[in-house]
Amino acid sequence: MTRYIIRRLLQAIPTLIGISILSFILVNAAPGDPITMRTFGDPRMTEEAREILRRQLGLDQPAIVQYFAWMTGLSVRQGDQVAMMTTPGNTCGYIGAINVTVCDGGGGILRGDLGTSIDTKQPVWARIVERMPATLELGITSLLLSLFIGVPLGVLSAVYRGSLFDNLVRFFAVIFRAIPIFWMALILILVFSVVLGWLPTGGRQTVSLTQEFNLGDRIRHIILPAAVLAFGGIAGFSRIMRTETLEVLHTDYIRTAQAKGLSPNNVWFVHAFRNALIPLMTVMGPAIVGVLGGAVVVETIFAWPGMGRLTVNAAFQQDYPVVLGAGMFFAVLTIIGYMLSDIFYAVVDPRVRFD
């Protein structure tokens, strides 16, 4: 098992390198640069001043040098520029043989530093950590909602197979699987916030001067986004649980349990339910990944101050270090999600062996 996990981790390395290259190429393909965009039409800015700013951020360098600097924290420049580039926190050395100056800014992805936001001058890590609780709050709430609603619906639907209840559950599962969360979000805002005025249209809490914690207010704010994110999960979980419970109900050990004279409740909820849970574990990974991806949509529409919104806003404002850093962070979470699901699978089902 340990060997398997190590192998999976090693496999993730080329994937992550690939993602870093791909996303770096993408953001660098944009015409213009963040400095021009931020200082456009500013009468105090001269072209020389812009040039100095670009230089400070290394934006004047070729893309491959920028990529290298982003990854390792080492910036490379032609010629002897030690005097010019040395600043506090930036030690430089001149390598005469190849006529370049190498500066060590102390950061770099490989050293766990995602860089610094152009807009807020904060480390990207700090911005991610600041937004994490909101995303976790939303993600966990919606996962719990979908589990605690979807699983019982699926089991009951299998137990009362063919009943009106079963048909209703299946009908809504089809609808909710097909309806995009984006659409759901718009319509729920329209109904519950605009027309009925019951719930806020977005945000995590009501904006006030004191910003003190108010549980009721927080709950009112999370209902809509969490519900929107949970719909897909409820539909998916109920479908899987229905199929699996039906399958388990036809097995020999259930017949044995029934033959022993156990009560139907005991048979269904102790014997059938627990075995039907196995496949659920395998979809937990993709479900977590789905919630992450969905969070990007939901956070954007509901102005939820999480990581998804952070990244989307950074993309709009061309705050590249944040886009790249947060993108890498998302990718790592996704890879871990898939990996956990494979490991869970083996843990709950001893029939699965790692090769």
């Binding site: 993602i19 993408l26 718009l186 993108g327 990718a331």
Partner: protein
């Protein structure tokens, strides 16, 4: 000839032989004919297909169907409510002239929704065709030849999988929107490219899986034994046997692309709404959702009309996709 001879002999034995002969001489039902009749018996799938055909018709004949020019500004007639509302929040009454009312500039909402169908249909079908061509070719090569090609392609798919789709679309659209590529076809072309870049992965993996199982089958071994070349085996034997899976995947890719357009339009990153009457693509449902969101208190139908249209189209494709899956692979039926 022997059967005819036997039927002429009046004996019990030959009578049953005649029955068998009758059964055998019935036109044989191919797999596709079978699947087709299964599909026609699926009410939801047929209804979905009809709705899709309806929207395709609307998209093609938009200029004939739209009651107004979607770009025509009617000053003083902004934010008219739909015709059945007599007193809206803006204090205006609807007229039969503008069935679903007008937007802030007095443009007819119904006509704009009709024109919006064009973008959704094109965004649904064109990238999907590219995705299928690329995904199927790469998936076949990867699965058939295996080895380092396979390894490289699968690592490539890992990369695309590990990145949230929407984030990728937003980065591509924000980064390249101002370039010539991003201006082409009012930004639609870039959207096609982005959709193709993300979605070929799923098709490639699916087809690869199919190829891996099919290439071990006896009929592949048999055709190799008679000296068929790799390309012939792939095109004549493996591709037709994977076609069902590919068709089902297409049916689910199309609504995915339509939704992506709607989200990006809503974020202001989709089609650039046009003011040029000679353009084929004037507005999209996604862009209308964005306009409608800001005007929701004045004229909710700017949002509702495209929202209903998106939901109808997406649900229809899903019903059709479910129907196709049941028809083409009855084993997968729930």
């Amino acid at each position: 000839m022997t059967t005819t001879a036997q039927t002429q002999t009046p004996s019990a034995k030959s009578a049953s032989a005649a029955e068998t002969a009758k059964v055998l001489s019935r036109p044989s039902r191919s797999f596709w004919r079978d699947a087709w009749s299964r599909l026609l018996h699926n009410k939801a799938a047929v209804a979905g297909a009809l709705v899709i055909l309806f929207f395709m018709f609307v998209a093609i004949f938009a200029p004939l169907l739209a009651p107004h020019n979607p770009l025509e500004l009617n000053s003083g007639k902004g934010f008219l409510p739909p015709m059945w509302v007599e007193n809206s929040s803006t204090g205006k009454a609807g007229t039969p002239e503008f069935i679903l009312g007008t937007d802030n500039l007095g443009r007819d909402v119904l006509s704009r929704v009709i024109y919006g169908a064009r973008v959704s249909m094109v965004v649904g079908f064109i990238p999907t065709l590219i995705i299928v061509v690329v995904g199927v070719s790469l998936g076949m090569i990867s699965g058939y030849f295996g080895g380092s090609t396979d390894n490289l392609l699968m690592r490539l798919t890992d990369i695309v999988y590990a990145f949230p789709d929407l984030l990728f679309f937003i980065i591509v659209m924000t980064a390249l929107r101002a370039t010539a590529l991003g201006q082409f076809l009012n930004g639609l072309f870039l959207l096609f490219v982005a959709l193709a870049l993300v979605n070929w992965v799923g098709v490639a993996r699916l087809v690869r899986g199919q190829v891996l199982s099919l290439k071990e089958k006896d009929f592949v071994l048999a055709s190799r034994a008679v000296g068929a070349k790799d390309t012939r085996i792939m095109i004549r034997h493996i591709l037709p046997n994977s076609l069902g899976v590919i068709i089902v995947a297409m049916a689910f890719l199309i609504p995915g692309a339509i939704i992506t357009e709607a989200i990006l339009g809503y974020l202001g990153l989709g089609l650039r709404p046009s003011t040029d009457p000679t353009d084929i693509f004037i507005t999209s449902w996604g862009s209308m959702l964005l306009e409608g969101q800001t005007a929701i208190n004045n004229q909710p139908w700017i949002l509702l009309a495209p929202a209903i249209a998106v939901a109808l189209v997406v649900l229809s494709f899903n019903f059709l996709g479910d129907g196709l899956r049941d028809a083409l692979d009855p084993r997968l039926r729930e």
